[in-house]
Symmetry: C2
Subunit: 403 residues, 2 copies
């Protein structure tokens, strides 16, 4: 094994990084803080801050006439997402509501097309599992919580299989096109932990949802998105039949008739401030290019893994994240029996902002546009020093889990 | 009939108005513009602007640690709504999602408690009618679109009756406690067109939803709210079972178990910017007091009706709104065969911002905290002069309806 990079080598990686200038487009309010939790809440870019201020001014000054522009945001931002991040076509993506609500809409609607079970894997994100179980129960379908993705794909009578593209704990990334091809069931992809960090090739995938407050940096509780393959749209009807999904919204006619295309999956009035922030954030993705972002994610996580291998041996850590760059996203997960106190001590004593997942996972997210190689190096260095010195013991672990 | 007030009399009403100082807490970006569309999108108060900027700064500077404060916003803002506007108890109101999604959740859940039909009146707001029809169909219930509120309340096998407290077109206000008592069905109130304009006495009402971007001035697409009477909460389960409604959210356990109390009606991650704006807006309501706001709404609409009676006779208008103040909200509706060109001409030529509802309704909303008596006087005066001169004819009526 070769020696791991020293700090100068990390600085050299920054100097050679084609995306290095993007880091300056994010305020770094506290230089001593290393922010490795962009996979829970992405940092704010300056352009996003400006756009939010402009949107507040538009409400203040234009009042209701602002809607002449705002009304197109869910589809316009959706198209931008499709083009910059998702490998989808115009008219296939809509930015609106939360992941939970969008997942509910698509899962429920998809069962009109297929008989059979609703399937996901036990490691999938909680909201996915909970929503799907309830949808299956209300539609009288069998719900299968499979022990693995492989088992989920092997369920013979599956109508719908829901999978996360990148696992929120391990960071493992699935081969989305290959998995989609491997099953006759419809696949509903949750892209929350991959979108904006690695390229997504929806290609001929059926259904997807995802969140925008992680790697897309659109702010706390920013609107989520949903994707429906063009050819499926006219045969799916949202269970939440709201006026924004109505064909002729302001005719306000007696009965609901779904709009043509993706707009039928709208429900109520969309959140304009969040959509504006997302729109501005996608400008950075467009400028950088998702392929370059994915390359940097691979390099950052690759260096972090290399350092962890070299420095954390014998300290009780186990790398959970795949070592093959194409098989992971932009975060790494380290298992440790004391992961929770280590997480708290890293945050409170070392100002390395990371997070924890039950029961024993320490997550470090390397938001590609905002994070430098030196920051990643420093973070693993601080982790090494903390645990070597045993300084995580005795830290206050009573803090409420908030993300 | 006595002579209607002249402009000096309107100015005297402003001088004697205990809420007159609140008007200066709203920027008035264009002094020539009379904004009477606060019933579609309320104007922004300065305190709301400041709070939004502070929230953007908190995301920028505190990043994920902002959630330590934000996580309580849905219930904290809900409690503030309960106290300032709704006559409800702490723990009965939650600020989250859209009216459409909240209506879906509560209507769906309520049917677990009662057999029978889902009922609303044909004049109810479109999203209510559409959502309820779909919920009834998916639950195998009869859906009744009654010809009137009276007919809706007379449906013998009703499980759920959904009614708007203030009608979005006519402005007619129902006696909420009396109607609630008049039926054995559960009543789901839509408060979108009354909350923040007149007092709401939920008292022992069962269920309610409402929006906050009208008279509560929380911004375009701001989060809505829902109310569930305390005694009912533990027997209702949301059909959208998301991780924010889970009992121990960050345990991320295998199965959904609804949280105790109102939090079980959360779905996904709540929109923080909109919640912060709503929280700040409720400070104005608390400062003014909803009883004083309701008195001013009655006085503003009363003067407008008096002027309309005096000035618009013979011009083809018919007042649709009840003349008894306790039977209306804070907007008035005038029926006119040329309502649409009059609406467009008022906006484009006279800068009186009003809106139109199919097929022939001109709406004028008098947002009590932001609107003066002189503004209301001027608006009716401009309407009189416009229609008397026939200046609404030939106006461009091709504008897209946006609100």
């Amino acid at each position: 094994m070769t020696a791991p990079p020293d700090r100068r080598a990390a600085a050299a990686l920054d100097a050679g990084d084609p995306l290095t200038s993007f880091r300056s487009r994010f305020p770094h309010p506290d230089p001593a803080r290393l922010y490795l939790d962009g996979n829970s809440l992405g940092p704010m870019a300056r352009g996003v801050e400006e756009r939010m201020h402009a949107t507040i001014e538009a409400w203040r000054d234009d009042q209701v006439e602002g809607w002449a522009d705002w009304v197109a945001l869910p589809t316009r931002v959706g198209d931008r997402l499709a083009q910059t991040c998702l490998g989808a076509r115009p008219g296939e993506v809509l930015a609106t509501d939360s992941v939970t609500v969008n997942l509910f809409k698509l899962a429920h609607a998809s069962l009109d097309l297929r008989d059979g079970a609703v399937v996901t894997d036990a490691a999938n994100f909680p909201t996915d599992r909970y929503v799907l179980a309830a949808v299956a129960a209300s539609r009288g379908r069998r719900f299968v919580l499979a022990g693995s993705v492989t088992e989920a794909l092997a369920v013979p009578d599956a109508a719908l299989v829901c999978l996360s593209h990148v696992d929120y704990r391990s960071g493992r990334r699935l081969d989305l096109p290959a998995v989609t091809r491997a099953t006759d069931a419809m696949v509903l992809w949750d892209l929350s932990h991959s979108v904006g960090a690695v390229s997504v090739d929806l290609g001929r995938a059926d259904l997807a949802v995802g969140c925008t407050y992680k790697y897309l940096n659109a702010g706390p509780g920013a609107p989520a998105f949903l994707y429906v393959r063009h050819e499926l749209q006219d045969s799916l009807v949202s269970p939440i039949q709201g006026w924004f999904g109505q064909r002729d919204q302001f005719a306000m006619g007696p009965t609901y008739e779904p709009a043509d295309g993706i707009e039928r999956f709208m429900a109520g009035t969309p959140p304009i401030l969040g959509l504006a922030a997302l729109d501005a954030s996608l400008e950075l993705v467009a400028d950088a290019g998702i392929a370059a972002i994915e390359r940097k994610a691979a390099a950052l996580t690759g260096m972090a893994i290399e350092l962890a291998d070299a420095w954390l041996e014998g300290l009780g850590f186990e790398l959970v994240t795949p070592r093959e760059p194409g098989e992971r996203g932009a975060h790494i997960a380290l298992r440790h029996p004391e992961a929770w106190p280590i997480c708290r001590a890293l945050i409170e004593r070392e100002r390395v902002i990371v997070d924890f997942r039950q029961p024993d996972i320490l997550r470090m997210g390397f938001s590609p546009l905002a994070t430098s190689f030196v920051e990643a190096w420093d973070a693993i260095d601080r982790l090494r020093r903390l645990v070597t010195a045993g300084d995580h013991r005795g830290v206050d672990t009573s803090a409420r889990r908030i993300t």
